[in-house]
Symmetry: D2
Subunit: 423 residues, 4 copies
């Protein structure tokens, strides 16, 4: 089996490699190609990747290349984890919206739209080349905004699934609290990517006993602290929202906080430099501890589970996972072709969403509003034009006002012209 | 034919009477009962009403009573135009939300929720008594928030239709600009009460030529000025939003404006006193000019059209009007039992909504979000409890944040305890 | 010696009585008159006052009266602790400014101006009657806003000193932390009432060793927690601001907090009812523990120290206390007739401010700005008129903007008309 | 007479040259040196400057140089009109403060502090070199923030005067409205640079009749429109504030406006490119009309008047002009060594401020607050360090809150490191 990772030069990659090594029984990789145009990074990351495989006795071969077509040729699955514009663009996404009194964040709000506009055309181009080079390959998208990118891929007819580590992270946290195995917990995870709530935590399977009431009764303080939400939020909702919901439920407070401290620029840049310096050490043959504070925890487990189920290897086959898939009536108030993030059973022909309980209007209204924004965001990404950008911004529930949308549209274009050929 | 007007002591009533007099061919009223517990007002308003009928030679009889059951007995239709808590409650609705940085307004946002909580139980009680006293009578609800109140009435099995004067007012404005007859224009009016957009202005009938592009090209400045929206809004949308959309599209600006001037309390109270003083003049036998600045223009035309169509009198029968009715698939992303405000053909068995074009996601997302709020608002109105109030507030797109919803919930209860038996 | 307490029916009074009883060697009171127009309260409070004196064996006589002229007749000193408009007016002061996005607080900002406008004319009238009834009596003002009220009294030629418990409270806190006697600590306390900073904490006397650096190095967390300021504030300033500075240094955060919870109305009203119920118990002969959470701690000690020094009794004579007095060059950037809050040596002819070190521009700019506001506030209180109210509001550093000042002026007048004869 | 203009390559310079040509009787320049490190710009501007002189028959010689020491050698007066960091730095000053909810502007607020920090060290270095090259030369500072820069120059013992075109512009506007000669109007102009009010408009001389009440009664709408202030501001104040006061009186509104549109970057850059393209035309021999929209109107008149008076040439000698000079008791609530902007009589030994009427507390409080900020700003500029930057920010009346000051301090440093050797 051959896997290709596009954006393989990311400092995240050793986390992925470590998972591939640990879980090689589930996903027996024969060849792994790291594809990235940044040769320097790729060499450092590739070297460490090989040492990790070697130390753990993984028999697979790891190669690196800047040539996308060659890299994905014959691949069974292609993971997308690229970042158009790199950290520099992300850092701009985090700052200019603040000038308009709006959240500055890379996946939610105006910053997320900027990322979508930069990313969708690049991903569609990559997918097209994957289709030509390896017609049957699955595309696993880990590139944000996962919901919009996955929808773009599916609309263009690709065999694609969107993947996010929020659900698997919560599953691990809940398991740790309950002293049980993660695999023993199934989440009633419902919503859109980065806009989800855990409505239940089922023991043993999707229809098992719901442990969530007990979890909230006994451990709300701990859960709230990890999500950086006031405990009151858990008490009032009786469910566990994704920590991205903080950007909605405490929007103004977050904007104030972001305005009262420097952006994460220096911090992240410093961490990346430090990681790359560590990777350059030929004695290093495991993922360094520092990587844990980089985000993306459990991403490798999620990716292995998904690839295994899609490709029919190991224990993953037919398993139930939280994924970004076509709605097809799962949330009846959304169009069938919307992309939702829910539990799905994954077989060789792809994921099939499980039914979900009726979504409380308290969540459904917000989900419908954001889904409408996502539709306009995708339209703007595909067809361009300031007017479409403006409309997507106005449609976002965190923006919604004309003067904000105007100010944001101007800034989005000014800061992203090099990535938007039509601008 | 007998009509009863509950809240008939309102200073609005002469506008209604004037319409009944002018349009007596459409709606031949034999008996009109004004029902109101405020005896003083009722006497003044009733006196003027009779003089208006007399001057215009209307043969119908006008009576007044504080006894609801007697007043509605045998009525063919009952108009609801009451205001629970009066201007005093409304003025509080307009101020306390400002303390939390939120819009203070009587139908939109937290103030609208307060009004719904006060109003729904009272209206349901009235409707129940109407049902007993006059089983076949139609209930025409002009009491705000019309969408939520109408839904409450329909859910309880009443023969009810919700009526608002926004659409008829726009129809009149457009006709004046175009130099045509109002009846010649049909509006593609879509959304929820006080959350609507005119997507088209059809000449001659629902399928006629769309005059809206020309109207916007030639008269955008005038339309914008009347709606107090920047012209840019019309240019960007290419449609005409209800002026209530300003509370969404320019929310923060409105909050600033409201905080920079006194509430409308003194102003409205003064105007009402002045009107009542005028009404007391036994020589006055027409609606005074001052009434025009009181709001509610064309309400009487709308009410006559609707009653006539429902009761099968005159020219109204089978006509197409903008009304608040069950969704039944009209907006496919809303539940069938939601109440929407669209064009409907009205016959003796009630209104049937006409199909509407697919709603742009730019509007649909907001409509779905507000519809979800309305569902929770109705639940809070029917079942009470601070938690339900909190949830409805959090679900509103203009609120959406925990600390705002907490502050608003406390204030809503503190300012409305006398009207909320459960609080 | 005879003392009169105007506003003696306050629920605070038992705190004062308890201090008089404990400190009777410092201030040997022969007769104490509690003056208050609220007969019910006065009876309850007066009864408890007598029982406290009795239990502690104080030989002084306590009388109560609603007759101001009789009560202050022949008094050596008169304490003012009244509240024009009572808790109801205060609670309004705390809410309507929030509607304009401004702090709602009873001494700082727009609420403080409202209180000044209500209070100054009443206090000047009382002082005039004191002058006639007991020409040589000292007036000790504890009524807020103490700075403006004291200035009004001095400008009218009265023998007045302004007293606040912030400094004595900090002195007690510092002493507790250091394990020393309060009397052993002298504070370099500088600024205006409710706008002060402790620049030094001197051991043994005004020129003693400065213990503040050590206090901040070792106990900043504890001090910050008690002042509800982030510890960072202490670290950055290197001084200890009054907790009222939080209204400046964290204004927007405070406004958000106030908007996210109900006003203190119910809370304070409930506490007052509870206290009065306790006072009614004829078995109660000491101040109840609940009183500690009512505010005003150490007020009695401060009042005893001041009265003793002014009247030349006991140990207080010639002592150094923090008081509100004429500036006379103490802060060279303020006019000589401004009232400042600093350490002063108190003899029979009144307090004489001690020199203070040069005030850092970081504090001086804000002090000068607020002092200018206070001058305009006093002018508005003395001469009335919306324009003067507007000017005082605009001059306040927490307001400063035209639209805010307009909105606040309208609301201030609307909510205080009954106390402002000119409005 | 020799004049040097440091920053002579500015696109403003032709405005200056045009004034020198027109007013050569007042200021007979024999040699004019334009000094600028940007050789390209300097050549374009210098060429046009020579053609303007030639066309108007001015006999003076114009030279250009990048060598500061050579350029100022032997100069009688040196004009400073430089911009450290150029338009790029200014544009950053205008944007990052918005991220913290604060005004983004190049002379007021946090942006003004950034400019001061960049500019003061450079100007002091230039002045030192002027002192060595031409010991008796006057330094005329037009470089913003003029108040702080002039204070820095005077504190370092230089012969310096600060110049701003706000007052001369208002004088021209008033003269146009009144149909009189500008020289016939004297302004009671009081405050700090960019924080001034016209308290009177005197006819004929500093003690002449005050025309301001008449101007406001008859022309308030026109004046308000030109200052972009609501007319209400003029009505309420009864004086004419500098248009920079809008940043205080309507701070939040300005922040909203700035956040709702793109920064002036593209606009100004485009205009500068266009101007330079025009200057390159060898046929152009007058200042182009476009220059009028670049700002800085009447700067040349002000500079000629001042240089003439200082150097004792022509009619300027002994004249009264609005200048930035040492306070020396003019505003008694400010330190003597503060720099204020008032009318001064200018002789060969420099300007001597005229007495001003007592400043209303409504203005004095704000002036004192900003003056304290300026003192801390200068300290930060001279001595560096994040802590001093933080203190200056906290001291500014438009900032004043801890979290804002922290966020701004971080951003100021991050965006200006290349100009701040200590950062």
């Amino acid at each position: 089996m051959k896997l290709a990772v596009v954006g393989g030069g990311s400092t995240y990659t050793p986390e992925l490699i470590d998972g591939f090594a640990r879980l090689r029984d589930t996903l027996p990789i024969a060849e792994l190609v790291l594809v990235d145009p940044a040769a320097d990074r790729l060499e450092l990351v590739g070297g460490l990747a090989r040492r990790i495989f070697a130390r753990q006795g993984h028999p697979g071969r790891i190669t690196t290349t800047a040539d996308l077509d060659a890299g994905v040729d014959g691949a069974d699955a292609v993971l997308l984890q690229l970042r158009v514009g790199g950290q520099a663009a992300r850092l701009r996404d985090e700052t200019w919206p603040l000038e308009c009194g709006c959240l500055g964040q890379e996946t939610t709000g105006a910053g997320g739209l900027a990322k979508a506009l930069r990313t969708v055309p690049v991903v569609l181009d990559i997918a097209e080349r994957v289709r030509r080079a390896s017609p049957g390959a699955w595309i696993i998208d880990f590139t944000n905004p996962v919901g919009i990118v996955t929808r773009a891929l599916l609309d263009a007819g690709h065999k694609a699934v969107g993947l996010c580590n929020v659900a698997i992270g919560l599953q691990r946290k809940f398991a740790a609290i309950l002293g049980t195995e993660p695999a023993d917990l199934h989440l009633d995870h419902v919503g859109l990517n980065h806009l989800t709530w855990e409505l239940g935590v089922r023991k043993g399977g999707p229809d098992g006993e719901d442990l969530l009431p007990g979890l909230l009764a006994g451990h709300a303080d701990r859960i709230a602290a990890e999500l950086r939400l006031p405990r009151q939020v858990l008490d009032r909702l009786g469910t566990v929202p994704s920590y991205y919901l903080r950007y909605f439920y405490a929007h103004d407070e977050v904007v104030r906080e972001l305005g009262a401290k420097p952006s994460r620029a220096a911090e992240v840049a410093a961490m990346e430099q430090e990681l790359l310096a560590l990777y350059a050490d030929p004695a290093l043959d495991e993922k360094p501890a520092l990587l844990a504070s980089r985000g993306g925890a459990f991403y490798s487990e999620a990716a292995v589970d998904l690839a295994s189920a899609l490709l029919g290897t190991g224990a993953g086959r037919g398993s139930v996972q939280v994924l970004n898939v076509r709605n097809r009536g799962t949330l009846p108030f959304l169009p069938d072709d919307a992309v939702v993030e829910v539990q799905a059973r994954v077989g060789g022909s792809g994921p099939v969403p499980l039914p979900v309980p009726r979504l409380d209007p308290l969540y459904a209204g917000l989900v419908a509003h954001v889904a409408a924004y996502e539709e306009l965001a995708l339209e703007a990404a595909l067809r361009g034009g300031r007017d479409r950008v403006f409309r997507a911004l106005l449609a976002h529930p965190l923006i919604g006002q004309f003067d904000r949308a105007e100010g944001l549209a101007d800034r989005l274009l000014a800061h992203n012209r090099e990535y938007l050929p039509w601008a």
